[in-house]
Symmetry: C3
Subunit: 464 residues, 3 copies
């Protein structure tokens, strides 16, 4: 029995399901536009085979190991965080035994898609077939069709954006552009390490930024010039967007004198927590002003309390599945930036949230008014069938479809990219089918919207 | 092909849809009770023809122009805000070109209803038929059947409440009562201009209030007496309710000495932002106490951050589509008022919200306990199919149906009134049909509830 | 016509309903595990007949009397709160007249279940049949099959947990264990009266605790020892869990010196409101540490603003239906405790909420990471079909099914226990049926999950 049903994620009512299938058929195989994610350009530059199944499917996927950890599996047993010394086959068996934990989660949908479409599996993963799975995956990974570039092409990826610090050399991106390979892989400018005073090594990063750009980053003016220069460097490599992972959505609109003074205090190590927050806030507005100049689209991803689990952070570092969402204000937080540049249709600022209560209360009303605002797709924990449905149900009536920007797969699990787009396209078709079945939208219109959500809006919003 | 399907907004499942249709049939044509809205009594008093299509359907409708604005259309192109100088036909064409933006929104449902039922259109509005639409609407507006009183009767409006400042003369209301015309149009007492110290011209308004009532409104006692007098004046013209548009739901229960002192400080221009808030809070309790005397039903509409877009406000003034909801506390905020008068069944205080997270957490538990409390229908951005469903789904299990008050169309777009009640009646029937189909309610009971939600509860709650 | 339809609460779509029925059939009659509730062990120890219908079904049920109160019925008319002097038949008639108020509420589902399955009624309760109902209930209550122990067995209750103060003698529990009756009834350790400085009689309670345990509870060390001793006493009587009803989820991790000093200040009556909160916060961490020693499972029930209605509280005391939920933070609040013991799989801390916005934002992400955390079922106002569906829909995709703990009936209305489990089992099957119908889960897996949700998870999580 196959793992995937062709009608998965479509509404059960037969008439509605039929509509969903008609909407999905023409968009199922559209090229993938992936404007936001965390893959590594080096994979495609080097084009080496992926390592073992555990390294490929367990270790890089925080959805997978956080669930196992929540049920008492230790990260060391999985080879996650640090040494990576666990025997990959043992880790895989542990994962297989516990695969039932993922029932009802999107991880299960993504993995089954990968297991069936890439590795030909037709039996649900469990303790009994763990080794068979492992061997089958191992075997395929060794074949040329499973090299990164081959998969990129097989996945019909039209463009893939990575996420990069201004301090990165982007050598892989550069090399790819002269490699003769046709795959389009572009960087995204993520300045958190040099605009967030709480980022590890902030002051060292600022100094490094100065060296890299030959600007005096010990002063406000040189610091801004350095950021400008780095943005230009990214743009030359195809970058069309910036990304900002702040703890809150706070923005500020200080005078340049105030900002300069604040920067000096912070660089001198005299900034309070509140001043650090103010600085991040000001930098969002500075980034918006630069975007008006250079056309880079902004993305704001606020609201995560990072490294909530102190012991885990001290032992294993960042990204151990212990980032937890918190309530996030947008209405007051964004006002300074919006009052500065919010009426500029030339600016695009894409907002994300981990606080779903803000969808209908703040985000849709804001995006349904300000010309610069668009709403990013459901993010992180909400990148799931129910999460996507809630997004459409709470956002569409106020902001419409055309203040949203299509789908982001947002993953470092390269193999899951098609699975994630498949889920998003299906759920959007399910939502649209309901509107059609309830005579809130004509089917012909729904076809256009489905195409836009799957393909057109991402290209347009991210200027791809 | 018609724009409206007879089964629109009913669930797709055939058996459930059949129930919804049976529930809807007897209530579809019930008279409209409209206890809260923003039409102008002068329209009916003067009974002059409505102006052009743009003036009728675009300019007064913030849902329409905020969406267009969010996609880069300038308000000037629509003739919105200030000069109203844009060529109405050009504005209409721009609207028609962008009509696809409203897919999935309630605005689309309301407008299609108006286009088909009033103007006989059967093709979706788009660039290609913009002029045809325009001419058809123009032609009908010139006919006697489209004069305000004729439409009022055609719409089967049993009673229509307007919203009025205590400083208004209410001449049109007075004239209507002696005009011989049978239409029942009543004012609502909205004292924001004279109870909110942050309202434009507050101190001037207080002085005006004194002149109008021959009371000394420079002192607390005279101020209260003046408000009492104005309430009486409104009641003589049929008014049964007050309405309060505060930024928060804060209430207070100061001693009369404290209140008097606070009033003096504020009138002297010495009040802090916090004191302004405290004054508004106290005035809600004062209004509640007056309601115990004179029987006026209170409505509280908190939670909107008004004029969020500073540049737009400075250029075009209020109500430009830039009011954005914010998180709203009810539990602590209402306690002072409720501890003062909350156990009085003679008082009715109808609560609204723009923060849907409060429905199940605060509003339903409060309304399901306090004898004075009732829940107003989903408001503003939530006056929509999904918004209405969420309201019923999150409120009913704790507060039941009988602590709610039926529907408010809440509009200044007169032509959309039947469309809005049509949507509300259909969505309520869809919800009830689901309860019946899942054997949570008998169909016979659902018929009674449907009638109450469409008609009876509004009359009862608003004492009409 | 019966009051209960065999397909109640199942989705209307025929194919999905068929799946739900197949899932429900094997779990419908599983034994009831009731690990959290408010029944009285004395009922079963004494095994006396229940009093009249009003005393049985109206007075102990805050869902019933709060709704009646919200519509203007006075508590005195129902015999609720204090004197209980109202004529029970008159109270019953008032209830019957107003039974329509419960349309769409879970109370209606529970009561109809009781009316039909226990008292053989087949006509909906209303004014006309009030006396017939009353007499029928009276008659049955007098029969031996309606004695508490007989009902316990008829209900197939495998284990029933009560909720008890450390100051209680637990005599009924003791007597039951030596009575020869096979019913398993266990206490739950609820230390609020001796860990919450705002609890009525706190200092007296601490003194009493000292007397009971022969510990010096005027000092921190003796106080902790006394709590330890009481926990041991509860465990000897079968207790497996503690329960904590704090206003917030705040936790703290003070040094023992700081904690000792804080305790002294509070006992001396010198604690501020903030210090009272800090003390409660610290005591949650102390309880967690004791749980690591003695294995008691912790339950945290935060977020209720108790006794919101001052006049009612002063007249009738606690639990008069006037406890109102408020926004509740978990992410920051729980961090001190979690940083202390959160990575211990030996600890189980079950979290509940009255703030549904925390489900997807905070609770599921926390429970999907920390080994010690599990999510309790929807609580209080959300113990309802829509509330349960929202819980599954917002929690499952991030935390899965296996970080939840099955159902709590949480009631003092003993007769409603089977009705409540019936609703929970049906709603879970409805949710699972949707997953199966949309090919998100295999039906075979859904059978296992349904069994776990109805039975296995409660036993496992509560260590029963």
């Amino acid at each position: 029995m196959p793992l995937l049903h062709p009608d998965r994620l479509f509404p059960a009512d037969p008439a509605t399901r039929a509509i969903a299938k008609r909407l999905f058929a023409p968009i199922e195989n559209l090229p993938i536009v992936s404007p936001h994610g965390h893959t590594d350009a080096g994979w495609f530059q080097e084009n080496r085979r992926f390592a073992d199944p555990a390294a490929l499917l367990i270790r890089p996927d925080h959805y997978v190991f956080r669930m196992l950890y929540s049920q008492g599996v230790r990260l060391e047993q999985l080879g996650v965080g640090g040494g990576d010394t666990a025997d990959p086959r043992k880790a895989w068996r542990l994962f297989a035994e516990n695969y039932f934990l993922f029932r009802g989660t999107p991880t299960r949908l993504w993995l089954d898609y990968v297991f069936e479409t890439l590795f030909g599996q037709t039996e649900r993963l469990q303790a009994a077939n763990a080794d068979r799975y492992y061997d089958a995956i191992e075997e395929r990974l060794a074949s040329p069709e499973f090299l990164p570039r081959a998969l990129f092409e097989r996945f019909r990826i039209e463009v893939l954006a990575t996420t990069n610090s201004p301090l990165e050399s982007l050598d892989a991106h550069k090399a790819l552009r002269t490699s003769g390979w046709s795959g389009r892989i572009i960087p995204t400018f993520r300045p958190d390490p040099v605009v967030d005073p709480d980022f590890e090594g902030f002051r060292k990063n600022i100094a490094q930024l100065g060296e890299n750009t030959h600007e005096d980053t010990s002063a406000w003016k040189g610091y801004l010039a350095a950021l400008h220069a780095e943005r230009a460097r990214f743009r030359e490599l195809g970058c069309t967007a910036t990304d900002h992972g702040h703890p809150t959505a706070a923005t500020a609109d200080l005078s340049q004198g105030e900002a300069s003074h604040l920067f000096a205090r912070i660089l001198a190590g005299q900034g309070s927590a509140k001043e650090h927050e103010l600085f991040r806030a000001q930098m969002l507005t500075e980034m918006a002003k630069m975007s008006l100049d250079d056309g880079l689209v902004m993305q704001l991803h606020p609201g995560s309390v990072r490294n909530h689990n102190r012991a885990l952070f001290e032992k294993h570092g960042r990204d151990m599945g212990a980032d937890i969402p918190a309530p996030t204000d947008y209405v007051h937080a964004l006002q300074p930036l919006l009052n500065r540049v919010g009426n500029e249709p030339r600016l695009t600022l894409i907002l994300f949230t981990l606080d779903e209560s803000a969808y209908s209360r703040e985000l849709a009303p804001l995006a349904g008014h300000y010309p610069c605002l668009r709403l990013g797709p459901p993010w992180w924990f909400f990148d799931s069938p129910e999460g996507m449905l809630r997004f459409r149900e709470t956002v569409t009536e106020t902001a419409g479809f055309y203040n949203t920007v299509g789908f982001n797969d947002d993953t470092r699990a390269f193999l899951s990219i098609p699975a994630r787009h498949d889920v998003a396209r299906r759920v959007d078709c399910a939502y649209l089918a309901k509107l059609v079945a309830e005579h809130r939208l004509e089917e012909e219109e729904a076809h256009q919207v489905a195409h836009d959500l799957a393909y057109g809006l991402a290209r347009q919003a991210y200027r791809l």
